[in-house]
């Protein structure tokens, strides 16, 4: 049980450092499209983070929030893509 917990802590640390890297691209990114890529990556990372929070707290209801994000996260990216394509 102890080694499992250590492995999960390492996985959580990797996910949090991934959030930091994507945030750096979001702040620096020279164009709007770079920022949208970072936004998409952050939503996908947060799905994994929510699943991990659900496992640590042991409640299955937390997975529903990740489910909502999995359904709704791509609509924002599509709207922004149509916006920078000057169409919508």
């Amino acid at each position: 049980m102890d080694s499992v917990k250590i492995i999960l802590y390492i996985a959580g640390a990797l996910i949090l450092s991934g959030i930091l890297l994507a945030l750096w691209r979001f702040i620096k990114g020279p164009r709007t499209a770079d920022r949208v890529v970072a936004f998409d990556l952050l939503t996908v990372i947060s799905i994994a983070l929510m699943a991990m929070v659900a496992f640590f707290n042991g409640r299955i209801i937390y997975l529903d929030v990740a489910l909502v994000y999995g359904l709704l996260s791509f609509t924002g990216v599509i709207v922004v893509a149509r916006f920078i394509e000057k169409g919508l």
């Binding site: 999960l8 799905i47 299955i60 920078i84 000057k86």
Partner: protein, 115 residues
Amino acid sequence: MELQLLIGSLVTLAGSVFIFLGALGIVRMPDLYNRIQAGTKASTLGTILSVAGIGIMNPDWAGKVFILIAFVMMTNPVSSHTLARAAHHIGIALSKKTVVDKLKEDGPEENKKED
């Protein structure tokens, strides 16, 4: 039971390694299209693996985990495809090392007719 927990945590660790590599690629890659590829493919696989590892560790959650994997597999490539197409449409410059550009070779008129 102990072995099941160990396998699930290792799968989750592999998924988080893929997520970290995707985030590293989004910082290091030279132009937008490489960033889209690194940030979408690697992070999709990483999210699927880490959620599946949690499903292996907790077999009661397998149904909801399967639905979550299906949603991520359906929605994430759609958004990345739309974004890459829009970026090519407004003419964001490719990297200097690009060898081939099939979408430009096909001609912009045919692409506009399909809309």
